[in-house]
Amino acid sequence: MAIGWYLVVSAVIFSTGAAGVLTRRNPLVILLCLELMLNAANLALVAFARMHGGAAGQVFALIVMVVAACEVTVGLGLIVAIYRRNLPIDVDEMHELNG
């Protein structure tokens, strides 16, 4: 398959994730949609690594996976802390930090 096809799939997944972040209100699902966007970026990185024949893109993809794991840990910790304080699990209700 031509590399362009992989990039098309990556773009579709990325924009799906962006739509999810904008339309969903549950922070858990928003984190999942962020994962989608990071994975789309990973797919593009690996596709470009294949295109160039160098493994640097795969190294970047692995680093992105590490960053995603960190983001998940902290995000889920925040959600558990919100739940413990009996606040609603809804991003529209958590607007105290608005400017």
Partner: protein
């Protein structure tokens, strides 16, 4: 063959992505994301990124998703209220705009490699040996920074999700401290069951102090042989 696998995996990946966004129940969203991640691992294998595919399945679809499932089960992902109409229309429109822009940026970039099948395959491309060598030579600094980031995230998660006392207001704490407790609570004696023995002794004493009248009344009312024999045994 690779064409078939590419279309199969990419259709599953895109369907999984839509599932994550569309499904109302967060639990099903997580399961859709697991499907999506495994399909992406197949795409990585087609791109000859063996180690990244293995890490994707083991770390992402395995460990991270289990963490998600635990939190969804803990928080109890109920159905959410849908977003306002403005966001529900503008969000997908924005996503469509982003998709079109990405198509233009990537396919219209004029890169000669995009329509090709990639660089000629060299033996050992994408193997753990090659990735590890790169991590420990050219990309040593990102590697160390990533490990530091993992440490910070682990400590941060523990600090965030800890059950903390400091946020409780002082009055509540005072009340809880001054609340009279029954004797022996929170002691080793309680754990060893001393309290039950003491309660039994106290009950017997009360029985004896109450005199035989009440006992006889109860016996007459209940008329059960087991109760009488019990009472006799205690009195004797």
């Amino acid at each position: 063959m690779s064409v078939f696998f590419f279309f199969l995996a990419s259709i599953i990946a895109i369907a999984g992505a839509f599932g994550v966004v569309m499904l109302r129940n967060p639990f099903y969203s997580v399961l859709a994301l697991v499907c999506h991640l495994i399909a992406l691992a197949v795409l990585f294998l087609l791109l000859r990124a063996e180690f990244v595919a293995a890490a994707q399945v083991v770390v992402y679809a395995g460990a991270v998703m289990v963490l998600y499932l635990f939190v969804v089960a803990y928080v109890g992902g109920g159905d959410e209220v849908a977003a306002g109409t403005a966001l529900r229309i503008l969000g997908p429109l924005f996503a469509l705009a982003v998709a079109i822009e990405l198509f233009i940026a990537m396919l219209g970039s004029g890169l000669s490699g995009i329509s090709g099948k990639g660089a000629p395959y060299v033996l050992g491309f994408g193997t753990p040996a090659q990735i590890g060598r790169l991590f420990l030579t050219s990309y040593l600094l990102p590697f160390e920074v990533a490990s530091l980031l993992l440490l910070v995230a682990a400590i941060g998660a523990v600090v965030l999700a800890r059950r903390r006392r400091g946020l409780e207001d002082d009055l509540e704490l005072e009340r809880r401290l001054r609340e009279p407790r029954p004797a022996y609570t929170g002691t080793l004696a309680e754990g060893a069951g001393v309290q039950r023995v003491l309660a039994a002794i106290a009950a017997t004493e009360q029985l004896e102090r109450g005199g035989g009248a009440g006992e006889r009344d109860r016996r007459g009312l209940a008329g059960s042989p087991a109760g009488t024999s019990d009472g006799d045994g205690q009195e004797g």
